[in-house]
């Protein structure tokens, strides 16, 4: 047996050893570490997402929530660890995974209409080098309708309110027709109507058996909106059903600065890296 094959077998085995890993799970994150300029941002992170669950990632600023999402999608390089989608790699599951980046991550003055943006969710289905056909535009319009913006389909995106822009992003994710969604702070700075619309769509997705991982800031709404939670502060402090895990003790661990020793160690790693040749 070649050493390469052997190595990959061992890797598979180590994932399979953990009882919660299964091919039915949309997402399995195992021992993932990400570092910027050698400083670990997330360190040895493990968790799983089951089908049909709404999952919140919470944690203080700089806890690595967005980084974790980007690491899962291969947008930032992982220093270590594996991420599996339905037991396979991201490359084989791309079309089943949807992504809503932070609203501030794009230029809203870009010369496109709301419908153009939603159509982008279908680019993978459309395929390389082919124009957006009428049937894809119809599907995208239906997604805009689902978030209550059908009337604004042809409006330029800078003329939408912040909440409407966030709903356009949500419609674009719906247009991806994925089975697992990553949403980076969809509730940040939106009006009450948009928040209700987003929650309604999240519940519809869950009822269709899909899972959504949401980077979330508002601890007050965690219990009403989500089934499961990942409490993150560079490490996973706790993960599981909200009603079991979302306790004062875990909140204190996540937000209370109990991990200062770990932060200091991370700084030391970065310094050692900077000093090394």
């Amino acid at each position: 047996m070649s050493p390469v094959l052997h190595a990959s077998r061992t890797k598979q085995a180590s994932l399979a050893e953990r009882s919660e890993h299964s091919e039915h799970n949309p997402l399995s994150v195992h021992a993932v570490t990400v570092a910027y300029h050698r400083k670990p941002v997330i360190w040895d992170v493990d968790f799983d997402i089951e089908p049909g669950r709404l999952v919140a990632i919470v944690g203080p600023n700089g806890a690595g929530k967005s980084t974790l999402v980007k690491a899962c999608l291969g947008l930032v390089p992982r220093a270590a660890g594996q991420v599996e989608f339905w037991g396979g790699s991201y490359a084989t599951s791309r079309s089943r995974v949807g992504y809503v980046p932070q609203r501030e991550s794009v230029d809203w003055d870009f010369p496109v209409s709301a419908l153009d943006v939603v159509c982008m969710g279908r680019y993978r289905k459309i395929g390389w080098c082919r124009p957006v056909s009428r049937s894809h535009k119809r599907a995208a319009t239906a997604c805009l309708d689902r978030v209550g913006l059908a009337d604004l389909a042809h409006r330029q995106i800078s003329q939408l309110s912040g909440g409407q822009q966030q709903r356009v992003f949500l419609a674009r994710a719906l247009a991806q027709e994925a089975d697992l969604y990553f949403m980076d702070e969809p509730f940040a700075g939106v009006d009450a109507a948009t928040e209700r619309a987003i929650v309604a769509v999240l519940r519809e997705l869950r009822d269709e058996g899909k899972s959504v991982l949401v980077v979330h800031h508002d601890l007050q709404t965690v219990r009403t909106y989500f089934d499961d939670i990942v409490m993150l502060n560079m490490r996973v402090v706790a993960t599981g059903p909200v009603n079991e895990v979302f306790t004062n003790e875990n909140l204190h661990k996540t937000y209370g600065g109990r991990l200062t020793l770990l932060s200091e160690a991370a700084e030391a790693v970065a310094r050692a890296g900077a000093g090394a040749p």
Partner: protein, 436 residues
């Protein structure tokens, strides 16, 4: 001017080809806020040209082209590296990369290629006027005979090929270029690698720069990468339309610039100026015209919009005052009374405008609301008092602090939420007019 096929056709065509090629690609540079990239690449091809000359030992155009294209790509890579490792903004990275590489090119010339005639003037302005059609045909029917075609300058063929290549690149990958420019994260997550798209664009820009600048010079290339796309951006909010408009702007500035290069100095009995320079100026003038006169984003449109808004606010405020007077049992007011109630405002102008709109009627110096005026007055006062209610009940303002903010809010398109029948000061909030 007298158009001469031998003397004018190819300079004009070469200008058109360069302008349209650069304008096409410039759309994506402007959108990615990388306009300076054309500047960077067109300067840093110099060391590439010299290195190619030194390595190949000849001025063979194919070799020079490869050297320049390689230097262009190298610049794009270098800018990324400086940005990432130096942690500086893109503009600084591009500035550093192109000035250092250009200087390196100059040093290389001094060291290795003194004998080569590399004219700085030629680099700046190109040699459009040198594109003469030797053995040009006498009639259009003869234009495609072998000996006519043999006289077509090599630059024209290169530029034609380049325009076709750029058009193919943008046409086929339009949707991929759009998503990579708009949302690199989603593009990459979907499998359209945004940084690969970026480098592909840089390769094409580098090739276009090199293919164009021999004939038209670097100044025109830089201008055409920025001005037509920036002009088009002011005229539309759709990317596809913007691309077509940028091509139109490129053609317009080329033709106007070429004609103007000889026609305008001739008015003053002066010799013709550089055609490439003149086209560059024309593209800048066109951009200025768009900045001033664009239908939505132009200066004039904004001024007009602001003025019509100011007039509407002025009329609304007049109607508000008249309506309050009416509530107080004074259906008519004199201009003096109104002026006292609206200090610092152009009351006579407001009365004139409102009279023209049929909202008030005048009898001598007395002013009264008409039926439509009452209807609109009800609407304004209703909004004003609902906003006051909202500010007190929902936003925690003190009742004596809400009049001034409500004076502003009443003019918004956004309606206040429904409320009770009395405002925080105990005044009646009128019901909406029956017609609405």
């Amino acid at each position: 001017m007298n158009f001469s096929v031998a003397l004018d056709l190819f300079p004009l065509l070469s200008g058109l080809l360069a302008a349209t090629t650069c304008a096409l690609l410039g759309n994506f540079l402007v959108l990615r806020k990388l306009s300076l990239m054309g500047d960077a690449i067109s300067h840093s091809v110099l060391p590439g040209l010299v290195a190619a000359f030194v390595l190949a030992g000849s001025r063979n155009s194919g070799v020079m082209f490869l050297g320049a294209a390689a230097a262009g790509v190298f610049t794009a890579v270098l800018v990324e590296i400086i940005k990432k490792l130096g942690r500086v903004e893109p503009g600084a990275a591009m500035g550093v990369a192109f000035s250092v590489l250009f200087a390196l090119g100059v040093l290389l010339i001094e060291q290795f290629a003194r004998q080569v005639d590399l004219d700085a003037d030629c680099v700046l302005h190109g040699q459009l006027e040198g594109l003469v059609w030797y053995g040009h045909p006498e009639t259009w029917r003869d234009a495609f005979t072998p000996q006519s075609l043999a006289g077509v300058p090599r630059e024209i063929w290169t530029q034609l090929g380049m325009l076709a290549g750029a058009a193919l690149f943008v046409g086929v990958l339009f949707k991929e270029l759009r998503i990579a420019a708009f949302d690199a994260g989603l593009a990459t997550a979907l499998g359209i690698n945004a940084s690969a798209m970026h480098f592909a664009l840089m390769v094409v820009v580098a090739a276009a720069t090199v293919a164009s600048f021999e004939a038209v010079g670097s100044i025109l290339v830089i201008a055409m990468l920025i001005c037509p796309a920036a002009t088009a951006r002011l005229l539309t909010d759709r990317l596809a339309t913007q691309v077509w408009l940028s091509l139109a702007a490129a053609v317009l500035s080329t033709v106007a610039g070429y004609t103007g290069a000889s026609a305008i100095p001739a008015l003053f009995n002066l010799p013709a100026v550089s055609a490439a320079g003149s086209m560059t100026v024309a593209s800048g003038v066109l951009l200025v015209v768009a900045i001033v006169a664009a239908p939505r984003y132009g200066v004039i449109a904004r001024v007009l919009h602001r003025r019509s808004l100011a007039r509407r606010v002025l009329i609304d405020d007049l109607l508000g005052v008249l309506f309050r007077q009416r509530e107080a049992g004074e259906p008519e007011s004199s201009i003096q009374e109104l002026a006292a109630a609206m200090p610092g405002r152009a009351v006579p102008e407001a009365v004139t405008l409102a009279t023209q709109a049929g909202l008030v009627s005048r009898a001598g110096a007395r002013v009264a609301l008409t039926e439509p005026g009452i209807e609109r007055g009800v609407d304004i006062i209703r909004r004003h008092r609902l906003w006051e209610h909202y500010l007190v009940e929902r936003a925690g303002f003190r009742p004596d602090h809400v009049h001034d903010p409500a004076e502003v809010l009443e003019h918004l398109e956004t309606s206040p939420p429904e409320g009770p029948v009395a405002d925080p000061h105990g005044r009646e909030i009128p019901s909406p007019p029956a017609s609405s």
